[in-house]
Symmetry: C2
């Protein structure tokens, strides 16, 4: 293209090269690094972060951005790269380096305090740190700027373009019908028996099974791998090298199997990003919410669907003979789709999950805006849990101290989980509309139709469209709660014997 | 210390951080990276190399070096860091960037040509590339400068301070007695039976055994690990994180077991380097030759010793019952210490090995000096093999095309292997002098005495002393062939029933 654009691209690619190098080091830290490697690793990562930040805020980048914005570029990929680099450049330059450092320091201390507070179930030990982190994040919001409210500036880090107002409307319309549906399920006379999932599932067999399931949905092991880590994640350096992790519990079927499908869903997105735009925004994922839509779709709408297990349950019974040979498909299908209120978000089923997020969204928004005092967090948390999920934590560890996010200074992150569920349902409805045989394909072990549809409609575009625009283009409508509500009603009513 | 020294240290540490980051990426490429990750990895490594080179040649580094050299610093570690950084700064700044790039490009092409030429056993297909690489390396030598001959400038890259003249003297005095001893062994009536090493040794059992052997000699798995790769190596990022690799052949006992002890020997050196000098010369290994002395000592002088197997052979028989239960210790000990001329260097035993190196050293020195024409390489190689080892390659693949080094532009690298063997023998003789019960300790599975001796005398010093000075300080004499000749005569004569 033009000489300035080439220079620009070189700068932006370097940022991507440094970021993916750090990602590989992080992956290694979580999988294979020996215990005593930590101190060395911390220094390597600090240098990579420093080098990336220097490049993200380089005056030369600002200059070439201005030059390009004033030029007559019409190439779509170039326009995407310029727009998204402008966004990250503005964000990076607006936040003073001194504030970035204070946040890094305070987060380290706060994470430690949170770990101890959670172990003792004593929120008051974490409270002063939360206060400090909120104050720092308010400063971030003020530095970055916002149209609506401060929370928008924080949300924008994780879900560009989303606003608190929009989320409030969505979640307000979702909370009552969802809570009511949950109540219907709880009151149903037919209830699944989940105890079969706690029989013995040998870890070696699970490992092979998970790999095979990732493979059948289309995860390419020439361009990726699965390893074990304490907390499952999807990482990697680009479409040719995607790293999933999972974890195995001998006495619990679900975490590894559905965790793998979840991470493989993230991985399919990464493998489908356009390699020709490696390291730059046009080749990167849209947002955390869109990423989560991919993982939730493969985990739940595919991996917990009846057609999927119609195809694979006989095989599953054969490999986990001891645990499953006396369990009919229906019973198994009910067990993996049981809905029940639980105190812990990461253990929530797909119906309850969004209620957990609404609790957090409402609270963190109120905290940032100063409408909720830090000292009142435990009481507010417990009240909302009682109101929305019908259960009340008996202590802070299983209540407001359960998640790591706030201790890392991440406010505005939680909503991307709920958005992921909503996007997933709306995308999936559109896929079923476009591919009438979709569910039948699943029952024959064919997932290429769905994957191709996702490649064409979502993956190949990288950051071409922002999340909201993408949803509207692909599905024909703006984001709505209806596809999600329809999906859960249609799926879970029969599981619980409801009309 | 002083403000300029702190600034200097910061710069030098960054070079080390970038280098060890690249090392981790290289390790990953050889162990876990999926096939399609290669293109991404190449770009990441190219950026890290560029960033490191910018720092190695930064005018600011030159300025602070001059300032420090003119100051009154007396701290030993600081003096080491300044001296060795001066050496690498001079080398990096003297070689024009354009020449570095040409070498990188030509090596890539040449490595490819070498792979094909070796597959077809056709030296003439590699010859033009070798010609070009030699020309480029002569330019490197001229740019770097040298006192004696061009070859010295190349050698200095791998074994700082060593000279062609010194090596010529050493090797000239070694070649005849060694070749004569080899002949004595070949003529002996008692010959070991090596076929027992080609029985079935299940890979899973080998894996456990290798790990255990690395552990018993002192390799710390909290600060390191063992994985599998095509070509075994030792890498890592510092004393807390050392990565060994090995490879397993079901029908060959030796490669994994002795390969692991070899790499663990490298690893023990890395784990023993002073952590407080992480990333800087005072915390790094002296040279390739000294590194090799550590691996060869643990592999051969410990791992192929009779006391070692007195202790571990019964256990080894128990785990490899099928292969070894009918093999007495003596027979096993003979098999793992068989000496026989072979065409391939990497398969050579510890007696023959140096003869392979002498062939390469004499040839590459003549090539660089222009005394040997590229077209005459195969004939010269075969003549030297016949003369020194008594066997003649029947084609180039098993002759002059067997090693990758020249195709990478690495001239002056081979001698470090032979130096490693000579250093190892001289160090080991000194250790036996200082620790009279050393061999008896081995027979009781105690290796802490030797490891402690190496830590104290070698590892903890990092680059405090150059190789030659280190040898003299530790052993009381300059490097000599005598300890090596005494060692092989004392060890191998009884194996072959000689007086």
């Amino acid at each position: 293209m033009s000489q300035p654009y080439d220079a620009f691209l070189k700068m932006v690619r370097e940022i991507g090269q440094l970021g993916t190098t750090a990602a590989l080091l992080d992956w290694d830290s979580e999988t294979y690094m020996p215990a005593n490697g930590l101190a060395i690793r911390a220094e390597q990562l600090a240098l990579l972060a420093k080098l990336a930040h220097e490049r993200q805020t380089a005056p030369a980048l600002g200059e070439v951005l201005r030059e390009l914005e004033a030029s007559e570029i019409t190439d779509e990929a170039a326009l995407t790269n310029i727009r998204e680099t402008r966004r990250s450049y503005d964000r990076a330059t607006k936040i003073p380096a001194e504030l970035v450092e204070r946040i890094a320091r305070e987060s380290t201390v706060a994470k430690d305090a949170w770990t101890k507070a959670r172990a003792e179930s004593a929120f008051d030990k974490f409270a002063p740190h939360l206060e400090e982190l909120l104050d720092l994040q308010r400063q971030v919001a003020d530095a970055v700027g916002y149209k609506g409210e401060r929370y928008d500036a924080l949300l924008d880090e994780y879900e560009p373009g989303a606003t608190a107002a929009e989320l409030t409307t969505l979640f307000a319309s979702l909370r009552t019908p969802l809570a009511e549906f949950v109540k219907q399920l709880a009151d149903a006379t037919k209830q699944p028996d989940t105890s079969i999932l706690n029989r013995s599932f040998p870890v070696e067999t699970q490992t092979l099974w998970c790999r095979q399931m990732a493979e059948v949905i289309g995860f390419d092991f020439q361009s990726g791998r699965i390893d074990v880590s304490t907390h499952p994640f999807c990482s990697g350096t680009g479409p040719g090298d995607v790293r999933l992790t999972t974890r195995y519990q001998e006495r619990f079927f679900s975490p590894a199997v559905f965790g793998t499908l979840h991470e493989a869903g993230h991985g399919l997105y990464e493998q489908g990003l356009p390699m020709e735009h490696l390291f730059v925004p046009r080749g990167q994922a849209v947002s955390l919410g869109i990423h989560e839509s991919q993982s939730r779709m493969w985990e739940n709408m595919v991996g917990r669907s009846r057609p999927f297990w119609q195809r694979y349950y006989p095989q599953c019974q054969a490999v986990f003979r001891e645990a499953l040979s006396d369990v009919p498909l229906d019973e198994f299908y009910g067990a993996i789709n049981a809905v029940s209120p639980s105190l812990i978000r990461v253990e929530a089923d797909e119906v309850m999950y969004n209620l957990h997020i609404i609790v957090r969204f409402e609270m963190e928004r109120d905290l940032i805006e100063g409408r909720l005092a830090v000292k009142d967090v435990p009481a507010a948390w417990n009240a909302k849990m009682t109101d929305l999920l019908g259960i009340t934590p008996t202590n802070d560890a299983e209540g407001c101290l359960q998640d790591i996010h706030w201790s890392m200074g991440a406010f505005g992150y939680f909503p991307t989980y709920a958005l992921g569920n909503l996007y997933a349902a709306q995308f999936f409805a559109a896929a079923r509309r476009d591919l009438p045989n979709l569910m039948q394909d699943f029952s024959q072990g064919k997932f290429g139709g769905l994957l191709g549809w996702l490649r064409t409609n979502i993956h190949q575009h990288g950051q071409r469209y922002r999340a909201g625009e993408l949803v509207e283009r692909v599905t024909g409508s703006p984001l709505s709660i209806e596809p999600f509500l329809s999906y859960v009603r249609a799926k879970f009513s029969p599981v619980y014997g409801l009309a």
